[in-house]
Symmetry: C2
Subunit: 435 residues, 2 copies
């Protein structure tokens, strides 16, 4: 085992050095498609190589092909962080290599998963009628929720979401052969419950913090409509759900306690490395009815309930360990402080945009995402985005709102400081002036 200790020291040092310098690396990879693969051998080696050779190639071959999600100036999509306790927990997870299939294949995995998703439930202020488990991503979580809904209401063939909902709803509908109905939104990009028409729907996906502009669907009114029609309500709070840890932000989450299922991704805004998406439900029995299938070779003498009876994959990683590590090493206070700071930085950036002639804020800001644009054409804004991203100094993404091209600055990396946000604004104005 001396090799493992030696190689482990090298690996820890490599990661530590990476995290020390990640702020200086070009955020968006600047390689051409195919460039990384072309620099690697076409065939696997016949003979063993040392682990140090793998680390060496990370630097010399792969590094230019990385887009640095850990950079403090990654502002695209939703910014994420693999926090230090989360990263080290992944090492332990891999070392233990627990495979959660049945309870008995790892009682600690299953019970820690049940516990940590309950801890998170308490942190975000959901009532104790919800139980939960961890999925890889919200795509899978939404798909699983819709499968549970369809098992309950097999004759309804419609899935409903807003026109600004994430594409996961559309994907779930397509994969399951359901019809998707996109409900129009009001002038703040919120689903209009008066146009919901839930009576033929097996499920409605409402979003708190849509991907495009973090709008908040009117969940109380949607829940009323769903209740009238016995329609399943899934609340997708993949990004914004973490913000409910701060009591002063809970008003955005009014009514979500009436959902049949809720998704929140700790791998987005809570410092947990990819992947960790929590799915709660107040109808665990319906999930079991949809997913439970225990073949003979998996029958066991205990009568414990198995997490694999609630989701698509049969085996699961010990993801709970990283969620546990992060919740403990930050604590409620630490996570609140980070989220509040991200909102402060977003408000600051928003104020700069609002006060600058020739720029405009494009959507109401609820959390840590600012949607904005330069006055002018869509093409001007698209060119601006591309030149900013090509600089390597930061990485932004875009969306379309009311059919206009809009830039998105998403704050969510734990290392982002006011200096980083100020630099972003400087680069944006510099590149805009140069166009």
């Amino acid at each position: 085992m001396s090799d493992f200790r030696e190689d482990g020291a090298l690996a820890v040092d490599w990661v530590a050095s990476y995290l020390e310098r990640v702020g200086e690396l070009p955020v968006l990879s600047q390689v051409e498609p195919g460039q990384i693969r072309a620099a690697l051998p076409e065939s696997p080696p016949d003979e063993p190589e040392p682990f140090s050779a793998v680390l060496a190639d990370l630097d010399s071959v792969l590094m230019p092909g990385l887009t640095h999600w850990q950079s403090p100036r990654f502002f695209a999509y939703f910014a994420t962080t693999a926090s230090e306790p989360g990263v080290l927990a992944e090492l332990v997870i891999a070392g233990l290599n627990q495979v959660g299939i049945l309870w008995r294949t790892s009682p600690a995995l299953q019970e820690l998963e049940e516990l940590t998703v309950d801890w998170l439930r308490q942190l975000v202020g959901l009532p104790d009628g919800f139980t939960g488990h961890i999925e890889d991503t919200a795509s899978t979580g939404v798909l699983a929720a819709v499968i549970a809904a369809r098992t309950r209401l097999p004759d309804r063939r419609v899935l409903v979401c807003s026109e600004y909902a994430h594409s996961v709803g559309e994907k779930a509908a397509r994969l399951l052969g359901l019809e998707l109905r996109k409900v129009p939104t009001d002038d703040e990009f919120r689903m209009r419950p008066d146009l919901l028409g839930a009576d033929d729907a097996c499920a409605v996906v409402a979003t708190i913090g849509t991907t495009g502009m973090t709008s908040v669907d009117p969940v109380p009114e949607i829940a009323d409509r769903c209740a009238e029609n016995a329609t399943w309500l899934h609340v997708d709070a993949a990004y914004a759900g973490s913000a409910a840890i701060c009591p002063e932000l809970r008003h955005h989450f009014a009514g979500w306690e009436r959902a049949d299922s809720i998704g929140v991704n700790p791998h987005k805004w809570l410092g947990v490395p990819m992947d960790c998406s929590v799915l709660w439900t107040s109808r665990e029995e319906e999930f079991r009815r949809a997913f439970s299938l225990v073949p003979e070779f998996l029958r066991s003498p205990d009568d414990a309930v198995n997490l694999s009876e609630l989701s698509i994959p049969l085996g699961r990683r010990f993801r709970a360990l990283k969620l546990w590590a992060v919740l403990r090493c930050y604590g409620r206070a630490g996570l609140q402080e980070l989220i509040r700071d991200h909102l402060r930085l977003a408000a600051l950036f928003e104020s700069w945009v609002r006060d600058e002639p020739g720029w405009e804020v494009s959507a109401a800001r609820h959390f840590s995402l600012v949607c904005f644009r330069r006055q002018g054409s869509d093409e001007d804004n698209e060119r601006l985005l591309e030149s900013v991203n090509a600089s390597g100094e930061m990485f932004l993404s875009h969306t379309r709102l009311d059919d206009r091209y809009v830039l998105r600055l998403a704050i969510g990396n734990f290392r982002t400081t006011e200096d980083d946000v100020r630099l972003a604004w400087d680069v944006l104005r510099r590149e805009a002036a140069a166009l």
Copy 2:
């Protein structure tokens, strides 16, 4: 970053110590349901705790609730290994926290994934018409393949597999609202192609190395029937596929190159930590047609193809890095040596059972799994299994073959030696004598 280096050293030391002593720990956890959770705080902490506190609780609270998949005497289900380069690669994966959504969100992730699944394709001797990607588990891989098949043949509502196929087929059928037809098997538990009836099927799942007893469906004949009816053929070689790295075992895989899709799990028999399930297809376009959906907020100026257009989750981990590390640090020769040794050990155990009065081998052995039983009733064998597992000295599982209860000894952990297998046999005879 000094904390990360310090905590990292603690974590490496913890994992190294764990792997040094894992052979001495009770293999199957002996706790009662609820025991682990009851030993942990019901609510999350308000204030931060050090990472060392997490490691301390791993020892003092979680350890009894672990079933030790890394133990050399884990012989249940299919034995797996998180090899040392694979474990350390997970540390790097988490440190980089790449999120593969679009090519540009991590060109290195996507291109290394395409490369490593191609390396594995070459290692197992598949032709170059197959491209691939990594799924979490074979459950998801089979589901994805059936979704692709159903997209191609939307009017066919039947999924076919053998009566001894893994439950993943049944689960996929249920989740997608398809009818499952289980085809009877011959006296070696192989699907009978003459009873296939593929003309109304959208897909047939054939298995090379079934979970129960590693039987091998007659893929060439099944492929003929599928070709006649334009039915999608998925070959599930989740466990056994790794054995195709050894040319002398390739005969078991005759015909799999005619499949539309094939699944092999490097997290089973190739030393890659959970989770890493490779899904190849000769019909990538059909996968794209089923899964591709790029919303506005994900459009990018490059015209690269994105791996997220081929599978259920939108975002993926940098799993390719651990597959790459393992393929390089073992090399073709190293992996062949391990697999051959596992087959040697399985043959040895099989010979002991065969030569011992009162015991019998219950199914032909093709790979590293031995199915056997003590002559006597099912209840006798079930009691034997429970007493062996309760001893903590080893962990076996069971299945039913021809409606008889049968014990399974699966060899697949890289640390398993002849001494471990001999101990297993000694414990089995000791416990049988004591009953």
